[in-house]
């Protein structure tokens, strides 16, 4: 319907004839709903999972930012800012008090209370790794009155505010108490928040289409919007997210005015949009994504530190990124595990990665370690554009260094399933896989899951690394940003020496919009508040 409207206005503008008349006739017959101002966006994937606590999928988090609000939010300087609540910390660092601002209501009309926030934080704390660390030292978290919650710790936890205000992967979204009381392992069934948009359940088509309407009772903050912080003013009536399996289709649709926005344009296809005067292409996410490889510490050959180091030496960021992205304007070599452009960035130990790899040194290490030709099982997804290329390029690089590589193609969901297997590679396990993170998901030692050294309790690959655990504890205890940065440097050096993972550099997506769209906030998470559309 709305597509028809757009097409109509375009045709009319160009003085179109019969077709426009016919479309006009068609739209005259339709109810007033079609008057609503709608932004139709093609997102990077289809929304399927609606519970932002149970999954870390980006599309689900983006959905959650539409319909839920957060207590605190990060601004463009990585600083926590009040969003739903202000906070105070006691001098001993043991008591945090959050006070909800006035005017907060859920989409069902109920006021947001401190009880709702407590229940939401509790559920989140069972799933989020940073949250788990906070709850490990929590004495009590309770609603002291309608609007106040008090969080009491048994020992100081310096980064508490930065964990609560993080924008990815699992930010603590505030839900009504009855929803938040769902077990943290069961997906929620009711989707009500207090955010600036309302989820239209009747029009939800999983994996294909999601519809949001403006929440008229949302009271935005007065501050200017800055990343996830500041006032969330909504200027359109509806936002529709659609998923298009084929990028060319999306680009053609944008060119024809059938849609308004593409969240991620495949860089190779930019020539298709750049020639169109009705389309604006911009790199709005300042930080981008980190692509990385992770080895399995449990099984040969990568249970041997020397062979992990050899693999790291064999890899070249330039080769990976040039193949994946192509246009150098949209990628950046970066040896920092915390990502370049973030406060903790440091590139110690990454020289070979950023200078084209060192296959000779890798071959030498292979010999020193007495590599016996155990094949490296490399899981290669075939159905996700941003994950297809890394394994193929890496396989060639590892072979050049002397590894025997068994590249196994499978769909991404099979990778996701199989990487959870602790069995030997020959029995359904694996040796390496690759994935991508948004920078905020790796920028901090407490958030970055690859730096978990707790063996089987940690993330896939399961390194048992007491040293990194000790360093993370030092980070929690560090009193000042300078001390934190100092610990972070040690973590960087240690992580690349142990090869906890291999950062393969950063890449960015251009976004494309029609020229009639303005006000999109340049943030890592695509948000639709502040966006205006001219008819």
């Amino acid at each position: 319907m709305t597509e028809a409207l757009n097409l109509k206005s375009r045709l009319l503008r160009r003085g179109g004839g019969i077709a426009a008349g016919a479309l006009l006739a068609a739209t005259l017959l339709t109810p007033a709903v079609s008057e609503a101002q709608t932004i139709t966006g093609v997102m990077h994937s289809g929304l399927r999972v609606l519970d932002p606590v149970i999954t870390t999928a980006h599309i689900t988090r983006n959905h959650a930012y539409m319909i839920y609000d957060v207590l605190l939010a990060q601004d463009e300087n990585f600083e926590p800012q009040p969003q739903m609540a202000d906070w105070e910390v006691s001098d001993d660092g043991l008591t945090y008090t959050f006070t909800l601002r006035d005017g907060l209501v859920f989409h069902d009309g109920e006021a947001v209370t401190a009880e709702d926030a407590v229940a939401s934080l509790n559920r989140w704390g069972k799933r989020d790794s940073g949250g788990q660390l906070i709850f490990d030292v929590t004495e009590s978290l309770e609603a002291t009155d309608e609007k106040t919650l008090t969080w009491t710790l048994s020992e100081p936890f310096e980064p508490l505010i930065s964990v609560i205000s993080k924008q990815s992967a699992l930010p603590p979204f505030i839900m009504p108490k009855r929803v938040a009381e769902t077990s943290a392992d069961t997906p929620i069934e009711e989707h009500i928040g207090s955010g600036p948009f309302v989820f239209v359940e009747d029009e939800f088509d999983p994996g294909q289409r999601v519809v949001y309407e403006r929440f008229d009772d949302y009271v935005p903050r007065d501050e200017e919007p800055s990343w996830m912080a500041g006032g969330k003013h909504v200027y359109v009536d509806r936002v529709v997210w659609v998923n298009m399996a084929d990028q060319q289709t999306a680009i053609n649709a944008l060119g024809a005015g059938e849609i308004d926005y593409i969240e991620q344009v495949q860089v190779d296809l930019l020539p298709m949009v750049e020639s169109n005067p009705d389309v604006v292409v911009e790199r709005r996410d300042p930080l981008g994504y980190q692509t990385m490889g992770r080895m399995n510490f449990k099984h040969p050959p990568f249970d041997d530190k020397k062979l992990r180091q050899a693999a790291l030496l064999a890899l070249s960021q330039e080769d990976v990124l040039a193949t994946m992205v192509g246009n150098p304007e949209y990628y950046e070599l970066c040896g920092a595990i915390f990502g370049c452009g973030t406060p903790l960035a440091d590139e110690t130990g990454s020289e070979s990665l950023t200078s084209g790899g060192d296959p000779e040194a890798a071959a030498q290490l292979l010999e020193e370690a007495g590599y016996d030709g155990t094949p490296v099982v490399l899981m290669a997804p075939t159905d996700v554009v941003t994950l297809n290329d890394q394994p193929v390029v890496a396989a060639q690089a590892l072979r050049n260094a002397g590894f025997v590589v068994d590249l196994q193609p499978m769909d991404w969901q099979s990778v996701v399933t199989r990487r959870a297997s602790m069995d030997p590679p020959s029995e359904g396990g694996w040796n390496i896989f690759f994935t991508n993170w948004m920078l905020p998901e790796v920028a901090d030692p407490l958030i970055n899951v690859m730096l978990n050294g707790r063996g089987d309790d940690g993330w896939f690959g399961w390194p048992e690394d007491e040293a990194v655990e000790a360093l993370r504890a030092d980070y929690v205890a560090a009193a000042s940003p300078e001390e934190q940065a100092e610990v972070a440097r040690k973590i960087q050096a240690h992580a690349l020496d142990e090869v906890l993972y291999v950062p393969l550099g950063q890449y960015f997506f251009p976004q494309a919009t029609g020229t009639n769209i303005s006000g999109i906030i340049p943030a890592p998470v695509p948000v639709f508040w502040n966006v205006k559309k001219e008819d």
């Binding site: 597509e3 068609a26 399927r48 999954t55 870390t56 992967a169 069961t186 088509d205 053609n252 940690g458």
Partner: protein, 313 residues
Amino acid sequence: MLGYIIRRILAILPVLLIVAVIVFLMLRLSPGDPAAILAGDAATPAQIDRIRTELGLNDPLHVQFITWMGQLLQGDLGTSLISRTDVWTMIERRIDPTINIALLTIFISVMLAVPMGVIAAWKHRTWADYLVMTFSVLGFSIPVFVIGYIFISIFSLQLRWLPVQGYTAPSEDLLGFFQRAILPALTLATIYIALIARMTRASMLEVLNEDYIRTARAKGVSERDVLFRHALRNAAVPIMTIIGIGFALLIGGVVVTESVFNIPGIGRLTVDAILARDYPVIQAMILLTAGIYVLVNLLIDLSYSLIDPRIRY
């Protein structure tokens, strides 16, 4: 006749039961894990296992199968493991585009292919015959998605006659429906036309050699009546059969065209569900398509006696 129909309908049940068993076993013995997909990138194996238990995926196989059968008997297709949406609702929202485009495809195919086949048989061994046959071999030899891309680049991008993607329901906007459905339907129709045109031609060729056609011609019946009244009627049974058999091809093609033209139909729903190991959705969709296939072929078998009075059951 009635007894035959009842017997045929009863025979559908074991077929669907076997389909159900095949699909169920295939899915449960496969290595995929919907819980891992649900949990996303940062989950640990322990968290994934807890979700498995919550979803009932850690129950013994026979328990899961009996639970599913029990649900089915109550007309409940279950809930998507991934989106927690009712499977019926998901199918309801997606089935309209697929059915409408499939009907349009069948209509276009029959309207084009039957005359093509008749003409090819009538003008046997002339350029018209060779043209039709060349087309019908080509229709079998080019992958569906390539045909789709070629149509898009000609009609949507070069000539700018039609929108590039999407779907509009005919109930909302009939013109919009045709504008968006015509390319996917033509794409799907290519292989179908090839199939039906060849069948029509082969079947007509046999009939045209029969004595009664010669008699009809000798009696001075007009050529058009000979072809369409006498010959086509007698050649109709194999043509109907091939339409039924081709229905399976159509369902296969739908999966691809829905991706190329971005149509929110059940083909894409099924493939997405397979890739996400969303068991209840895959099971429901495969049962549904199998059921439709069996029913369509039953209806076609029954229609034989209407077309050809010599056939009795």
